[in-house]
Amino acid sequence: MNSTSRPIRVLLAKLGLDTHTIGITVIAHALRDAGMEVIFTGLKQTPEMVVSTAIQEDVDVVGISSLSAAHMRHVPKVLELLHQQGAEDKLVVIGGVVPEADAQRLREMGVHEVFTMGAQTADVVNYIRQWITERDRSAARA
């Protein structure tokens, strides 16, 4: 998987019954404008469905949008399944309405970053690019 030869691939996911899609739509457009390939899971996904799509599509990034309170039920399950299936090398970011205490716990569990209201699309784009650059740099060193 040499990411310099292909655009960054991002899976954007909605889990459970949370159907708020404005944030994820804005992010999808912004990531595409920044040259990334964006795959959307569709609504009402289970953690199993998201992880299986992430692996099947060989994405670099899993972005989960959450605007209901169910993130603490779904996200740990996604992390666990990624780990179980040997796909823990992916960048996992959350966007949406996540209280700081929950964001802290999610970071401890392995989520790389949590973007809440007020985050700029450029922040998300830059964060993803930087992470991928660092990943590739350390892969080249190894």
Binding site: G16, L17, D18, T21, T25, A28, I39, S68, M117, G118
Partner: protein, 587 residues
């Protein structure tokens, strides 16, 4: 026309052909010259010394705004007072559908509520009625609106969070433990499973001995909006439309004083539809229901008075006012010309105005009280409709605190009683800007409806992803306006407080309520005649597979104590489940 410049007005005979309200040609030439002089001699030097941007646009439509509007603008849009505006309570209803506007009675003041269990809801509802509200809106939680019982593993963590959990008849009975003598109006928001919700409401009122004729039940029943932007759908669009039409047909035939359909075009607005899109998409969606119901043998003059809209209002004051005025006119015009409606009751648009939560900010939440007041004012000035519902200033944070409910109710009372805006009818009529913008919105809405017609109407537009893609683009562009600073939002990209933390008193949901809800549900399922439930659910499947109206077999299933999720599952087995591919989501 230039030859007339300088001629004395008295020498001209009045132009009989000129439409009422327009300026005559010699006036127009003199005015044009005076305006050009003003522009060159007064405005240009002042603007050259100014510090603001050179071009201004309306917020959502991004239409250029002139520095000044005069009678010349009315002339350029062909404004005709009698044809375009007329009188309140008369075609084309631009000045309002009620002949006396707000002078006879004020709009009904309402607020949305719904969370937790039935008991939580009724306690909250009583509190809200005590604050001077007369109408309540019952929002269901996501498991209910998506057709699942609370113990379905898919819905863990969502029970009672975004609305009220209704699994069983008992849940609704305890929610509706409210003083019906003080409740004028109840709206139930439950789109995909609306026939189940209707059946439960009927069975509950029967058990309580409440006469259904004593209050108005408004059902939202707006499944087509769910496919467009909200996403709480269950079955594919064509089946969704059939179910919604069953509710319309059953209600009109059995409870003619209830309202079986509200098109919440405010949800389109919340999904960033601009005013033209909100009206064009919303009206096209209404026409899909209209066409389906006409096929059931109703005539348009019976059907039309049952159509109701909840329209969104955003912060651009003039877009809001002009949209409301154009909405009434377009609706009346199309009902008359497209459907041949004859009765005035069929031509009158019925709306609830709804200042949008999307206009509120998480940052500096007290600022939202100012936003609510401004939006309530634009609703009152544009014609609030029968009802106005204001969101609460801390809604961006969490479910509303008691103090926010009190302030939210006070906002509407202050606008109604302290400002004088409700004391004369349609007071902004005749404003050069307001009439020009109203006319432009009307023209563009009619053009967009024609485009949607060419796609096969709303259902065709949904099935090809047109609404979804258009809204997705608006969402991105509107967000970009904020990120680039093209639009200033106080507390977000203007007058920002660094490292702000929310400090308001927040309402907290009792975590144990999900567990309690599931226990009650399982007990309910254990204590019933299982064979009777199975037979009733089979009757629902049979009706779904055929063409008979689904409401009677669903009502029988509810009376047999089938649960909400079980009835929705019975229909899933027949209709299948809607899983749109990515192009149909706008993402």
């Amino acid at each position: 026309m230039n030859s007339r410049i300088g001629q004395a007005r008295t020498l001209e005979s009045p132009d009989q052909a000129a439409p009422a309200g327009a300026v005559s040609q010699d006036d127009s030439a003199a005015l044009r010259e005076a305006q050009q002089n003003w522009q060159a001699l007064r405005f240009e030097p002042a603007i050259a010394a100014g510090t603001r941007k050179p071009l201004f646009t309306t917020q959502a439509l991004r239409w250029p705004i002139n520095p000044l509007y005069t009678p010349l603008d009315l002339e350029s849009v062909g404004f005709d007072y009698l044809r375009d505006v007329g009188f309140p309570g008369e075609f084309p209803y631009t000045r309002g559908t009620d002949p006396a506007g707000n002078r006879a009675r004020l709009w009904t003041m309402a607020q949305v509520t719904g969370f937790g269990t039935g008991r939580d809801w009724s306690k909250r509802a009583r509190f809200m009625l005590d604050q001077g509200l007369q109408g309540l809106i019952l929002e269901h939680d996501l498991p209910t609106t998506n057709g699942y019982d609370s113990d379905n593993p898919l819905v863990a963590g969502e029970v009672g969070r975004a609305g009220l959990a209704i699994d069983t008849l008992e849940d609704l009975e305890s929610a509706l433990d409210v003083p019906f003598d003080r409740l004028k109006y109840l709206m139930s928001v439950c789109n995909a499973p609306q026939p189940v919700n209707l059946a439960m409401l009927i069975a509950t009122l029967e058990k309580k001995g409440v006469d259904p004729a004593t209050f108005t039940l408004h059902m939202v029943n707006g499944i087509l909006i769910e496919y467009t932007c909200v996403g709480r759908y269950i079955y594919p669009p064509r089946h969704g439309l059939r179910i919604a039409t069953d509710v319309i047909e059953y209600t009109i035939r059995n409870h003619p004083n209830w309202m079986p359909l509200s098109i919440i075009s405010a949800q389109l607005y919340a999904a960033r539809a601009n005013p033209v899109q909100e009206l064009a998409f919303g009206i096209s969606i209404a026409f899909a229901y209209m066409d389906a119901a006409l096929e059931r043998g109703f005539d348009v003059d019976t059907l039309a008075p049952y159509f109701h809209f909840v329209t969104g209002v955003d912060m651009d004051f003039f877009e809001a006012v002009c949209k409301l005025r154009a909405f009434r006119k377009v609706w009346a015009t199309l009902l008359r010309d497209r459907y041949g409606a004859k009765r005035s009751e069929s031509l009158k648009l019925r709306i609830m105005t709804s200042p949008g939560t999307m206009s509120l900010t998480l940052q500096q939440p007290l600022n939202n009280i100012t936003r609510l007041a401004t939006m309530a004012l634009s609703c009152a000035l544009g014609g609030a409709g029968e009802t106005m519902t204001t969101p609460l200033h801390d809604e961006a944070h969490a479910l509303p605190a008691d103090e926010a409910i009190r302030v939210g109710a006070a906002v509407q009372h202050i606008v109604a009683h302290e400002t004088g805006v409700a004391d004369t009818i349609d007071p902004l009529a005749g404003s050069y800007y307001v009439e020009t913008l109203t006319r432009k919105i009307e023209t563009e809405v009619l053009a967009e409806i024609a485009r949607i017609d060419a796609m096969g109407g709303a259902l065709g537009a949904i099935e090809r992803g047109y609404f979804q893609r258009e809204l997705g683009r608006e969402q991105y562009e509107r967000n970009r306006d904020l990120e680039t600073g093209a639009r200033k939002l106080v507390g977000v990209n203007h007058l920002k407080k660094p490292e702000e933390r929310a400090e308001l008193d927040m309402f907290r949901l009792d975590e144990a309520s999900e567990i309690r809800q599931i226990e009650q549900l399982q007990q309910y399922r254990a204590n019933r005649d299982q064979a009777q439930v199975a037979a009733a659910l089979q009757a629902v499947r049979d009706a779904a597979a055929g063409t008979e109206n689904l409401v009677p077999p669903i009502l029988a299933a509810v009376r047999a104590h089938a649960t909400h999720g079980e009835i929705c599952d019975a229909m899933r087995e027949v209709f299948g489940v809607y899983r749109p591919d990515a192009q149909l989501t706008g993402i």
